[in-house]
Amino acid sequence: MNLIYNWMYYISSGGLILIGMYIVLVKTNLIKIIIGLHFIDTGINILLICIGYVKGRTAPIFSTSGINPTNVVDPVPQALVLTAIVIGVAVLALALSIAIKVYEHNKTLNVSKIKRLKW
């Protein structure tokens, strides 16, 4: 049980990253590849957050009494992830717009059927 508790977050975030990489490497549909890229993004965000976690501590917001500097978690990864999520959404939208253009030019989203773009 303790082993699962200690490794659950690393395993889930690493699993998300690996699933995303597998999708990017194997799938041929462009939309699925973009979904895979976003899987990697989400996995990295979860990984950063759980590296900053300290057991038994709370969020670094001193708005209620009883929270002092000795019982808060690391704020730096959270600050990183906070902006990374929005950037991830913007990059996802940009990738989807490029996918729309690719579909308009080639009438297919299958990357192995698009000429001059092979694995």
């Binding site: 597998y22 590296i51 057991k55 670094p60 929005v86 950037i87 717009s97």
Partner: protein
Amino acid sequence: MRTRKIVSIIILLIIAGGFMITFSQIPFGKDKINVANYYISRGIEETGAVNIVTSVVLNYRGFDTLGEVTVLFIAAIGLGAVLFVEKRVQKHTSDNKEDKAKRASLILRTGSNLLFPLILLFGAYIFIHGHLTPGGGFQGGAVVASGFLLIYLAFPKQSINKKSSSVAESLGGLIFIGIGLLGLIFSGYFLSNFLPKGIPNTLFSAGIIPIIYIAVGFKVGFDLTGIIDDLLGRSK
């Protein structure tokens, strides 16, 4: 296809092994705070914001946040450039059947009429209270954009006024940079917290942080709304 699968799985197994070796060295849940100790212990008195994440994002690392807002802006511009159309194709087919088919359901229309102002209010609450509660300009902006997305889904023919939305967006960016330059004038370095800190844990505290977060909220909200508008504008 099959060889590609096998090769990919082998590569991923190697990467997974690397992951395991790396993260077995980083114990989960142990205290590994080094750099952030300074922020945690000195953050409130130096910045006046009780939310340490906010004080890291906007005060200690304010310049990085300016860069990240710029990345979002460039992504929105790139999307607009990729999906550029000379003029929005507006077919004036007065076909009533098609019109009815294009209209969203009554539940969605009524619900979004009711919810849209509340979503905007919630988003504004999140980015105004960014220095007191979990939240801030990025999250609040995303909530505002989700409200606009709801309107786009419920009323397919409506669209935001592009001009005023881009004015609000540019104003957000200009306020961010302007406050940074004012800090350069008043206390010698870019984005310094030159306003009075106030009493921590009250709304009017933390100097420039709430102002910058409001600007970031407007910027992110209208950036994402513009992205939604560009993406939906092309759907035929």
